[in-house]
Symmetry: C2
Subunit: 327 residues, 2 copies
DNA sequence: TTGAAAGCGCTAACAA
DNA sequence: TTGTTAGCGCTTTCAA
């Protein structure tokens, strides 16, 4: 790999001049041309490691997510990446697998690699962001809120729970269960609260807790709990799924039982990107994942550029796509 | 951020000794303990950028894929990551978006960040791997084969096409169409060839070309072509989908037309991770994506460790999951 | 086993 | 506008 010195020698200038050419500071036209020529000849690529070491910051932003196999997060990643690469930044995608220790490792890497900033969907309440915040690196929390005073982008989770539930009520369903993600995750709790609001308003006497279940945010979680609900003496006639994967699992089980929606009503919070159902059979409260990524990336780039307003949290609105096929 | 010098001063040793402690070379027990103490006190994290600059290689491997939103590739990424992180490497995931220029940028980054090696599912035939190969960095091609003489891990694509088609024939379907990915991508061409083999063997007189269609490897691609096939004067009674997303699109369209499988037979090459169909309605030739990632990562780590055998290509076997519900 | 010192490739302060 | 030079934080010879 050619270095700046090789280029300098070939072009008959000093290394500093070569550096200037590649960093856009003032160099005479002739020298600039000579440097570009030499660089092309030598196939010169500036060494980012050296630049990073010198500058104490790199044009890389870290994106830490809890589940790389969840389309919700990859859609978000796309949003981050589009904005970042537009601005000349590359994105390093890290999968914490919802484990706090893996997450901590990636945060350490972000520090020791001098990344410019980090966007994180935390693995849990216990996530320790103090060390990286201590370095002064900008950090934006996405999807889940944190106990730290930092920028954030979240969904209108409670509203999502409410509007999913209302849609099912409007379609005429009577016993509307809820399958949420882990109780200790704030997004899960909020969505459940929205469901509870809507349900108790419509049916003040309903035994809400009999219809509430928590699962993992995965297909298996949705499957298990849906089976459980169907085995009830008085099973629900509709269900709200707390995220996309839970929705998939629940629908799979319903299908296997011959209860394809809308025989049993289903409303999913999130999206069903790879559904093979007729799109009109299920109500979806779409969470704008890509937009969340775009927003977070813009906030982060702003901070990197020096924006020092007080931290703020952006709440993104959902979009209701009600099922159009009644029972 | 504390440096090795701060730790050295606090521990009363030289910077070299601190380095040795963190790199496992011989240091006396007492000094070693003193260094660890000091490091803990100062919250010391070794600066990877400096280490990388000095060592001319980092414990990072690049993984470049053409579509981060395709579960096939994220499943593979999981495999890569599990092996890599086990070995102390981190994985940088880069999305080329099937564009050769973005891919070239990421390859440049891999070089200029001194990454230890790269695993790549190339964007196209035109991918230029020469520059990175010139640096001597190990490179493993996954999913798609290349024109370069390098290590590779691919699926048994032709066999996949054949066994998907045979399964449909065995189920009694007569007019079996094929929706493949872009013709110029070798995996797509191979799978189509496998379909052609099986079909012409079973029905020597069939007009194969009338039943063959190429699409993009995306849900939309599958949708468009499926609509096209259904509009035919003599539409097919079954279809082989060249990848997971095409399969999803095709099934969506069939469902919308009231032709839910197995009314029209469907065999998908790949997986349907988030399908909401009854699992027995569709034939799946499962491609072991995770295993592909695991294999590629092991090969790459082997090369990084110095393995210099001639390049080899591993072909992974598929697993047929035939539909169990007949028409 | 330990320390001194050079240098990885680049940028930026300073001087010309 | 250009060159000289110091130094980012680490590893690794070499010598003790």
């Amino acid at each position: 790999m050619a270095t700046i010195y090789d280029v300098a020698r070939l072009a008959g200038v000093s290394p500093a001049t070569v550096s200037r050419v590649f960093n856009g500071t003032s160099v005479s036209v002739e020298k600039s041309a000579a440097v570009r020529d030499a660089a092309a000849q030598l196939n010169f690529v500036p060494n980012r490691t050296a630049r990073t070491l010198r500058r104490q910051s790199s044009e890389v932003i870290g994106l830490i997510i809890p589940d790389i196999e969840n389309p919700y997060f990859t859609e978000m990643a796309r949003g981050v990446e589009d904005v970042a690469s537009e601005a000349g930044y590359s994105v390093v995608l890290c999968n914490s697998d919802a484990q706090t220790d893996k997450e901590a490792t990636y945060l350490q890497i972000a520090m020791s690699e001098n990344m410019s900033g980090v966007i994180i969907a935390t693995a849990s309440e216990e996530s320790d962001l103090a060390p990286i915040l201590a370095t002064g690196r900008p950090l934006v929390a996405v999807d889940r809120s944190t106990t730290y005073d930092i920028d954030g982008v979240v969904m209108a989770n409670r509203a999502a729970g409410t509007s999913a539930t209302r849609a099912l009520i409007d379609e005429g369903y009577q016993r509307i269960a809820y399958i949420g993600g882990p109780e200790h995750i704030d997004t899960a709790a909020e969505r459940a609260a929205g469901w509870r609001d809507a349900l108790t308003r419509a049916q003040p006497d309903v035994d809400v807790d009999a219809l509430l279940r928590f699962a993992t945010f995965r297909v298996d979680g949705g499957r298990e709990v849906m089976e459980e609900l169907l085995a009830l003496p008085e099973p629900p006639d509709a269900v709200v799924a707390g995220n996309n994967l839970i929705g998939v699992g629940a629908i799979q089980v319903l299908t296997e039982h011959g209860l394809t929606p809308p025989k049993v009503g289903v409303a999913v919070i999130g999206s069903l990107p790879f559904t093979t159902l007729s799109p009109s059979a299920v109500t979806v409260v779409r969470l704008p994942a890509r937009h969340m990524g775009v927003t977070a990336a813009k906030m982060l780039l702003g901070r990197i550029a020096g924006d020092d307003q007080p931290p703020r949290t952006v709440v993104l609105r959902n979009e209701l796509q009600a099922a159009s096929v009644a029972r």
